[in-house]
Structures are given as C-alpha cells and as structure tokens.
C-alpha cells in the first residue's frame, strides 16, 4: 500500500523552479522558488497549491526572500576579541569553540555545557543537534524553544491520548465540521490561510472562539458565523470546565463513546460539577447563557447527536500558562465527552506554532526525549537509540531540565557555563527576559549559530553563520503530522554553512563522526525512530520527492502512514483515553490593586516570533513598524491616553514604554502587547518565568501590570532595521 500522491510535492527538475515550503509557521504553506538572474533578491517566491494553504500565503511568506538578502546577513564566522565581535575563519572559530568547550568540560564536567535548539530547525538538524549534545558533549542539558510553544499541549496529549502529534487528522477535515471551538488561538493572524478551512463551520454558525480579545479570528464569528467568548485572561480553564458541566447537566455527552473509549470520566464528571455556569461566570466573566449556548452548539455538531462533526482546537493563548497542561487536559476531556477524537470528521488538536515545533521534539531537542518520541528515562529507548548511534546506553546522559530551568541554571553554581544556541533568539523570546540576559552574561562561553545578528547573537562570544530555508535540504513535520520536504533553491551567501556541516566539524574535533548529508541523516533518523511513537522508518526522501503524502507513524511495515490517528483506539496501554480531572488555580501573577491590569502577549500578522527574520523585511516593518499596546477606550480614558500616545507598562519584573493603540477589541481590564520586538521594546521584559509544573511551559500569556501615560513626549521610534 502507498500513501496518496500529491503531484505538486514532487521533487523539482534540476535548474528549474524549486518546490518547497515557507520558512515560518507550522502550516508550512507550499511555495515555489524561482531563481532570479538579477535584482536584489536571489529568488522569487510564489504560493503553491497544497492541502494546508490551498494556494494562499500571508505577507510573511510572500516577502520571505528578503530574509535571504538581509543587509546584515551573517556571511562569515565572528569571534569576540577584546570585547568586540570580528570576522574569523571557520577553522579559527571552530577550533576556538572546541578548545573552550573542552576546557569547560575538563574543569567542570560534561554537564557544564548546554545546548538550546529551535522549533524552526529541520528534522535533520534537530536530530543531529540532539545527537551532538548526547553523544559528543554527553550533556543532559538540551532543550529548545518549542518548550515555549507546544509543551503544555504535548504533555496533556501524552498523558491523556498517549501520543502527541499536533493535529491527529489532516487540516482539510475541518471543512465538513458543524462546529469548531478555538481556544486561545488566533489563526487569522498567526496562520491566515488556515482560515479557509473554517469556512464550513462559519457557514453553519459554528465557529466558536474563546479569546480575551476580539482577535481577527474572533471577528470571524460575526454575522451569525458563530460565537466569541471573551474570558478574563488566565481563566480559559474555567470556560472549559463550565462547558463540560453543561454537557453533563444537559445530558449531551456521548455516553456510549465514554463507556467504550475513555477512563476517568467519573472523576472528571464529579470535578466539573463544581463549575456550574453561574459560578464560572464570576471567575471567567463569560455570561452563563453564552457558556450554555456554546456547549449546545458544540454538542449539536457532534456525531452522537447526528451533527456533521465538531473539533476542539487549542492554541498558545491557553497553553502558555502555569495551568496550561491542565487546561489542555480539560479541552481534551471536552472533546472526548462529545465523542470526537478518532471519529471521522471530528477531533481534538492543538495548532502547532513553529515551522518544525513538532519534529523538533519528536527527534531529540526536548530535555527528556530521544528520537522517535522516545523517553530518555526509558531503558529500552536508550538501548535502541544507543545502538543506532553506536554508543553504550550507559553513556547516554539522563533527562535534562526544561528550558526555563535550564536558562535559570546558566552560570550558577553547578550549572552550565557554556551554551550553544541554534535557531533561537533567547534574548527576545524567553520569559522574564531581563533575567535571561543576565544569565547569558554569566556564561564563560556563548556560541550562537544564526543567519542574522539576532539580539542573542550580538551577546555571543562566537557567532557561526548558517544556511536557512531556501538554502538547505531537509524535512519539516507540519502541524498535521505530515512530513514535507524543504529544498534548496540557492546556495548560502558568503561563508555561511549548513548547520549539519557545522555540527559535523565540531564533532570531528571531539573525535566523533557525524554525518552532514541531509538524506543520509534522515535515513538514520528514520532508523532511530523505528518502533518509537513518532515512527518515520517507512519514510524516505525518495518517497517524499515522489509526492507521497506521509503522516507519522509511518513504520516500515505500514508504509502508507497514518493521516488519522485514534480510529481504533488511543495510544495508551488499554487503548482508552485517560481523562484527568483538573481544577482552576488561576494565574501565578494575578492582578492586584497595585497592578490592576492583565497583560496578554501575542503575535501580529506581519511578524514572526522574536522578529529576527521579519524585522528585516521592509514591507513587514512598514506594515507593523513597532509594538503597539492595545487597550480599550475605557482604560485609555482613565489613563488620559489617546491613540498613538506612549504608555509605560510595569510588571513586577520590568517596565517598558510603547505607543498605545486604542481599540474596543480588548477587554477594559486587559492590555495586549505583541512580543516580536527587542531590547527596550521586548514584551518579555514584563512576562513571568513561572512555569507549568507538568510541562515546564512559562506563563507568557498573563501577568499583572500597571499602566501610566509615559512622562516624556512622543519620540520617533527607530525601526530597528539594520542600515
């Protein structure tokens, strides 16, 4: 048996246009890159039809080629001498990195070196980086910025469904649904082409959006297309518990499904009895009638009630919380109570954020995981992976610590003293970023591999210029668990090299042999994943290049792959979903009379993550030149702030000044601030690094702040575009 073919995914003829995917988010919109003989940009980008994006692409994708030709593109290694970063040869830079890493480890042990990866790295790079950390450096200290992205969703899916693949179904399945509940997700801005898949639910009045803001996505519920619930920030869990309560109360659960396919329902049912809508309303601020209506709409669309199907989808808005894992658990319980997962045309899933956030954790960037979504602590997993790597299982380090804890330990007594960063911009993207910058400053050695001088690269002792997106070969695993090919259209500029080469060269200096051919690395990754949850062993570049649509698990003996999970049961020992009863604890840094406003952070359409890429694209900077604090007319009036005025926002951890955007799309008790900007404009100066006890996810999405009109008159804001 083979998987369906997608002729547009077929590998390119030599010298012609290149079929690849967008460098940004997990939707992985299909693109065609056509090399340009002249002009400022090396390729022309056009959108390509593909099931996730259906030919659509947002402005970030259309303008992606500009990042290839960023004026400050790193084209040569940089080494800090006398406090200043200056050009060096690869030989000098790599020798230096090797010598200093070796010295640190000789003096302080293997654990004195840490590795931080990124969810934008290809599967091949993620796999090799994990292997490098565990085999070459032999350090347990590896984690990645996907911890800031998907960890709560992953933890909840693993404990309840037994597996975490993002969506358990192809995105196009959403089209037939009668209702889609989106909790804390704003795809209309974060992955716009996805909105096409919501058309069916909207036409049936079933788009249900839970977001403290009337986001672009929440706006799609207007005109009878659905409902928007605007809870108090940090109370999404209460909304979900109340929805479950209504299902129980009104006899709307799928009792046959629950009896056959779930365990723990009695505990969940008893726990949600405490959250009748009128009580929930007092905590979450969503009127009880709206909660009831939402539950009924979802239930009416569920197959048990003869509906066309329903989906529960979650996003970072509810996951980036100290109760994120529990909140996702409640979302899964809601889907299970309605009998959705594993039913055709229905389901539960989180919308993955980063381009390869999924593949990154499947293949070894997470502190507790080995390739194939195996656990570092599992002796069988260690044996299997060690055999593929040709090392003694006993030599593999144990589980490390999640990202925030790793960052906290940097440069402390007994903590790592050297850090390698790949595909992450910690000095902007980490929570409580003031403390993170201080931690980076405590290091003996900071090595950053990047394509541009990101804010983190500028702090480094050694900067290694690497290839990106259109300059490399590899694979990415999309938000729907499908593996797609990233293909090289142009060579990297100057002396920039592929990260696989960089890791191979560093490993060689340590006396280890790592491959740097992406195809060979993928084959090794596939072997390492054999028998794991994320089994890629039936996949190959040949199959992907032939246009096969491959979703994991895709073991060698079931090479057709698995577009839809859970049809016959969950990935738990007894095949049942293990529901977990949870309760609302509330945000770690809740509002007080001194800090009476909730700060919510998030994205704007025109920028991506830390902005290292998009703040270098002129048309995106033009569209969104600076962070704007969104506040309601009511709050603005109280502060004496007009649209465009500067406001000072202060949390327990820091303060910043930005311009205000006065809008009625945000609750009067809330201010929204996008996190794509750096330095004095970094939203993460304000956010808390308190984490979820299960997932290690930091609470990016809510903290308490006070606001005041900025004392100084407005001054022009530098566009932060390098000259």
């Amino acid at each position: 048996m083979t998987a369906p073919h997608d002729r547009r995914e077929v590998g390119p003829p030599a010298g012609g246009p290149t079929a690849t995917h967008c460098p940004y988010c997990a939707l992985q919109c299909a693109q065609t890159l056509t090399p340009r003989a002249s002009g400022p940009l090396p390729v022309e980008v056009t959108a390509r039809d593909f099931p996730t994006n259906r030919g659509g692409m947002c402005q970030k994708g259309w303008s992606a080629a500009e990042v290839l030709a960023a004026p400050d593109r790193l084209t040569t290694p940089l080494v800090r001498r006398d406090g200043v970063l200056g050009p060096a040869t690869w030989e000098e830079a790599l020798d230096l990195v090797h010598a200093r890493l070796a010295a640190v480890q000789a003096e302080h042990g293997h654990d004195a070196v840490a590795v931080f990866g990124g969810g934008g790295l290809t599967n091949e790079k993620a796999y090799t980086l994990g292997k490098f950390a565990r085999v070459v450096l032999r350090t347990p200290y590896i984690d990645y910025n996907g911890r800031f992205c998907m960890s709560s969703a992953a933890a909840a899916a693993n404990r309840t469904l037994g597996v975490d693949r993002g969506l358990a179904f192809p995105l196009a399945d959403l089209g037939g649904a009668g209702a889609v509940l989106l909790v804390g997700s704003n795809p209309a801005e974060t992955m716009p082409p996805l909105v096409q898949h919501l058309a069916g639910a909207r036409s049936r009045g079933g788009l249900l959006v839970v977001d403290p803001r009337r986001s672009a996505t929440a706006g799609l519920t207007a005109d009878g297309a659905g409902l928007h619930l605007a809870p108090v920030p940090g109370t999404d869990l209460v909304v979900l518990l109340a929805l479950l309560h209504v299902l129980v109360d009104e006899g709307l659960t799928d009792t046959a499904y629950l009896a056959e396919r779930a365990s723990g329902w009695d505990e969940v049912r008893a726990s949600v009895s405490r959250w009748w809508p009128e009580r929930a309303e007092q905590v979450c601020g969503v009127p009880a009638p709206a909660l009831r209506r939402t539950a009924r709409l979802l239930a009416a669309a569920a197959p048990a009630h003869g509906g066309p199907g329903a989906y529960v989808l979650t996003g970072r808005g509810m996951e980036q919380s100290t109760q994120g894992t529990d909140t996702v658990s409640a979302a899964i319980a809601l889907a299970v109570a309605l009998g959705l997962p594993g039913r055709p045309g229905s389901g539960y899933g989180p919308l993955t954020g980063q381009g390869n956030g999924q593949g990154g954790r499947e293949h070894g960037l997470k502190s507790d995981q080995l390739p194939g979504y195996r656990l570092v602590a599992d002796p069988d997993a260690r044996r299997h992976v060690a055999a593929v790597w040709g090392v003694d299982p006993a030599d593999l380090p144990g589980p490390g610590v999640p990202a925030v804890e790793l960052l906290r330990r940097l440069g402390t007594e007994g903590g790592p003293r050297a850090l390698l960063v790949h595909g992450a911009n910690l000095a902007v993207s980490a929570p409580h970023v003031g403390a993170v910058r201080a931690a980076l400053g405590r290091l003996d050695l900071l090595v950053v591999s990047d394509v541009v001088p990101s804010e983190t690269a500028r702090l480094a002792d050694v900067v290694l210029p690497v290839a990106q997106w259109a300059e490399e070969e590899g694979t990415m695993t999309t938000l729907e668990g499908r593996v797609v090919r990233r293909r090289r259209a142009v060579p990297p500029p100057g002396d920039a090299r592929d990260e696989l080469w960089v890791l191979r060269e560093l490993a060689r200096r340590f006396g280890h042999d790592l491959g740097d051919d992406p195809r060979a690395v993928f084959d090794e990754l596939a072997r390492a994943s054999t028998g794991g949850k994320a089994d890629y062993s039936g996949m190959s570049y040949d199959r992907l290049d032939a246009g096969e649509a491959l979703y994991w698990p895709c073991p060698a003996d079931r090479p057709e792959g698995t577009p839809r999970l859970f049809a016959d049961g969950f990935a738990t020992p007894d095949g049942r979903a293990r529901l977990v009863a949870v309760d609302h604890r509330g945000p770690s840094d809740d509002v007080t009379p001194e800090r009476p406003v909730h700060l919510v952070t998030g994205r704007v359409l025109h920028h991506y993550q830390s902005g290292a890429q998009t703040r270098r694209v002129a048309e995106l900077v033009d569209a969104a030149p600076e962070p704007l604090a969104e506040l309601s007319p009511l709050l603005a009036a109280d502060l004496g702030v007009a649209d465009g005025d500067r406001v000072r926002i202060t949390s327990r951890r820091g303060a910043l000044e930005v311009r205000a955007r006065v809008t009625d799309t945000v609750r009067p008790d809330t201010v929204f601030l996008p996190f794509h900007w750096a330095d004095a404009h970094s939203a993460n100066l304000l956010t808390t690094d308190a984490t979820d006890p299960v997932s290690g996810m930091p609470e990016f999405k809510v903290c308490a702040v006070s606001l005041a009109r900025a004392a100084l008159p407005a001054v022009p804001v530098p566009h932060e575009v390098p000259a």
């Binding site: 947002c58 005109d223 009128e278 109280d638 799309t665």
Partner: protein, 495 residues
C-alpha cells in the same frame, strides 16, 4: 498518620476530605454522611426542580482513595471530646486526632398552621434542601397546576421560575417588601416583580402565609395572612436555613447561630473545626458555597501544614440561576444607605426591558453592584468585583454592554471604503491599491489578487475585492492610466 473525622458529606465536607487526602500523605480521613447518597451538588437542586438538571448528574464525589473512607447514610450522634471519639447512629465509633464539622444547614420551616403533622410535612408541602426534597417536588409537580412558593430569596425565585417553566401557575409570597431583599433595593425589586410577571409568576410582597388547607390529608389551598385563600397543589417553603448545630451543642461546643469558629476555623476546642454552613466565623457566614469551599481550602492547607494561607478572600456574588431571569448582585447592594458619602451610586432603570443596573463605587473600586436583565453586564461586573480591579473614571461605562469585549465592528460597504482602508489584512493591501489595480486593467478578482496579493492569505476579503472590482470606475482610456502600475500596497498604519 493523622486521623481526621469529617461529619457531613455535603459540598464542603466532601471537598475538604478529598483535598485533604490529596494534600497530606499522613491524613487518614473518615467522612460520615447522613444522607443515603454520596455528596452531590446542592446548589443545582433548583435546576432539578426546573427540569434543566438531571438528578443523577449532580454527583460531586471523586474517585475512591485508599486513605479516604466515606460512610453514607450514617449520622454522627455524639462526640466525646475528652476521648476524641465520634459515635454514629449505627453504633460505630470513630476515633480522631482532628474533627471537622461540616454538617451544613437545615431548611427553616416557619410556624404555619397545617404544614406539618406528626409524620412531617403534609403531602404537597415541601422545603428544598436535599435531593429527596427536589425529586419530591418534581414528582408532585407532574400532576399539579398551581403552586405557591413562600419566600422570594434567591432559592424561592429559582424554584418559582423553575415551576413556571414546568407550566404551573405560580405565586410567590414574600414577607419582605422587596423581592430578594438581601440582594435587591426598591427599584431593582420592582423590575424583578415585573420580570417575574412576564414569566407568568405573580409576586406578593409584604405578605405571608397563615396556614394551609388540606383535603383528604393532601394540600388543597394556601391561606394568606390577609385571609384570602388560593387553591394550590404544591406549596414550597423557601424561607432560609438554620445552621445544623445539634451535634456541636450536644458536644458542648460554643455556638451562637452557628458553631463559633475563629479565623483559623477552630472551635473553642483546638481539635475540632467547623466549615461551611454550620460554621459561624468572625466575619459572619454568607450562606454561599464559595465561602465554604474557601474555608475547606484554607483548612486543608493548615491541617496538611503545607503552608499558611493568609486571609480568605470571600466573594459574596449572588447569581440567580433561573431561565428567563438574570439577576446578579454583589457587595453593597439591597437596602443600603444610598446617601452614604463613601459611595458613589449610579443606576440605570429600564423596566420595559426588565433591565436594572446599579453600581456602587468606593474610591476606584467597585464596592457593590446589582444587575437585572443583562447577563453580559452582570458577568463583567462580577469579574471586575471579584478581582477588585479599577473602575473607570466614569462608572456609567460599566452599565452598558459594549464593555464586555465589544460588539462586532460595523461592516462597511465596499463602496464606502476609503482608499487608505485595509482590505486584505494578510497582505496589507488597501482599497486604494485594489482600485488602482482595476484601473490599470485587472478585470477580475483573480487578476487583482495576482497583481496585489489581495485575498491570497486567508481569502476572507475575496468578496470585498470582487465588489471593488465591480464598483471601481474604469477610465475611458485604459492606456491613459498606465503610469501607476499595481504594486503590493504598503499601508503605514491603520488610520
């Protein structure tokens, strides 16, 4: 091991017991529950009466736990405080290191002629305190046409609307001059009376019931204090509760209205605690489950010595659960001095639509509020109140709906879009850029998309682009306009 005995398996006792074994690995907990069923959600009993909640779906009790023993249908009869021993009505003995009384409260049965005989309440007459009461009312309502509810507090109003929803003709008789007099002031009460009338419920304030008339041992009519009689098949008395203190008094613990406890929830015996409706803390009892649960959380933290919990924030938000009638009140409400200089009181009265909103502001905080007929405003007010966040300079802004996150922005007709207005957010394309593309020769939405990238993202603006293509005037001589080629438009700001 610490042996903890909890008397009472209600909403508070069950939560305390479950949370305690979870929090304290040294705790061994025995719960004695007088009712024949495990803990259930008493707050939702009015929903059972209304038929919106199935009685078998109220269960609160969690899964079994090896250190938690729950005995249902077993009542504690005596406490030997010197011997630290509880005796039950089955003759069982339960030694304790700590005893927690969570005995709750009982429905107050007013002294009304004829409501009870030596077998208890006469058929057709009910209180609503436990599951048996609720199922009894439901059974009686099935064959009933007329009901009288005595007492228009929160429960009385919920029962009245519930019975009305079942199709009964309902009268509510209330001794006070205002409905829900603890929560509602005069004006709010008037609006509530009118709202009940719209639901087919007649409300009599300042009235009481003198007696009931029975026929063959069954209720047939209710006699009001003014001498009038009304035929009735069902009479439900919702006249408040009294803390259940019999056991505590018998054990010699200090009691007033309830069992007297300190801030630490301890009685005058340091080994005995009381929580929930049976307890009378220094600041008084609200009768709301939120207070009992907060006390349970507090006591669990203290007994498990995990951490000391400073102060108990108790919220006194009261939300009526009645279909067709939205009532929320909190803090300073009901009959208070509206001339009190500490308060700024604003109100909005709209009896025609059954709406009344009153907010009481002290400084920059919401000290209290009453909201009828607008669930959304009510929800916003309670979220604001429970978090003590800042009230807007003009508190009148709190009284209208637009606050709760805003309504949908009015959609503008494509023809009315200014050139600077953004049409395609995904690709930052303005109406002007689309019009320019049309003028320079793009004849269809697809061609405009190809030239400007408009609607190549989420595709949501395609209909707007189509309308702009249709409404944009094309210059007579297309070649005259060619100095302005279509380019992706870069709009600088939203303005």
């Amino acid at each position: 091991m610490t042996r903890v005995v909890v008397v009472g398996h209600g909403m508070v006792g069950s939560r305390l017991a479950e949370d305690l074994v979870a929090a304290d690995p040294a705790a061994e907990v025995t719960v004695l529950g007088r009712e024949p069923v495990p803990a259930y959600n008493r707050v939702l009993l009015s929903g059972v009466v209304a038929g919106t909640t199935a009685p078998d779906l109220l269960a609160l009790a969690g899964p079994p736990h090896p250190r938690l023993r729950v005995l249902t249908g077993v009542a504690a009869t005596d406490v030997d405080r010197a011997g630290r021993l509880v005796t039950d009505d089955r003759g069982g003995h339960h030694p304790y290191d700590r005893l927690v009384l969570a005995t709750g409260s009982a429905a107050r049965v007013p002294a009304i002629q004829g409501v009870a005989d030596d077998r208890g309440l006469v058929p057709g007459v009910f209180v609503l305190k436990d599951l048996a009461d609720a199922t009894g009312i439901v059974a009686a309502a099935a064959g009933a046409r007329r009901a009288v509810v005595l007492g228009a507090g929160v429960l009385g109003v919920e029962v009245a609307t519930g019975l009305a929803a079942r199709g009964l003709a309902v009268r509510v008789v209330h001794l006070g001059e205002r409905l829900m007099d603890r929560q509602l002031g005069w004006e709010a009460s008037q609006v509530a009376v009118a709202s009940l009338r719209r639901l087919g419920i007649a409300a009599h304030t300042g009235a009481s019931v003198a007696g009931v008339v029975t026929h063959r041992g069954r209720l047939s009519a209710v006699r009001f204090s003014d001498g009038l009689e009304a035929a009735a098949d069902l009479f439900v008395m919702c006249t408040g509760t009294v803390p259940e203190t019999v056991l505590a008094r018998r054990a010699g613990l200090a009691c007033d209205r309830g069992v007297l406890v300190g801030e630490d929830l301890a009685t005058d015996d340091p080994h005995v605690f009381a929580v929930g409706d049976c307890a009378q803390p220094p600041a008084g009892a609200t009768g709301l489950v939120a207070q009992g649960w907060e006390q349970a959380r507090h006591l669990v933290a203290m007994l498990s010595a995990r951490d000391s919990v400073a102060g108990m924030p108790t919220h006194d938000v009261v939300r009526v659960k009645a279909s067709g009638l939205s009532v929320v009140s909190m803090g300073v409400s009901g009959d208070f001095d509206r001339e009190d200089p500490r308060y700024r009181v604003l109100s909005l009265k709209d009896p025609e639509r059954g709406r009344f909103v009153e907010v009481v502001v002290a400084g920059s905080r919401l000290a209290g509020a009453t909201c009828l007929g607008d669930a959304e405003v009510g929800a916003t007010l309670s979220a604001l109140y429970t978090r003590a966040t800042t009230v807007p300079d003009d508190p009148a802004m709190l009284m209208v709906r637009a606050l709760a996150g805003g309504g949908a922005a009015p959609a503008r007709e494509p023809a009315d879009l200014a050139d600077a207005d953004r049409v395609c957010t995904c690709n930052s394309v303005s109406a002007g850029a689309v019009r320019a593309a049309v003028r320079s020769g793009c004849a269809s939405a697809a061609e405009v998309s190809a030239a400007t990238r408009a609607s190549t993202g989420c595709g949501d603006c395609r209909s707007v682009v189509e309308a702009l293509v249709a409404t944009t005037a094309i210059p007579a001589d297309p070649t005259a306009d060619h100095e302005e080629p279509p380019v992706p438009d870069l709009v600088r700001s939203e303005s």
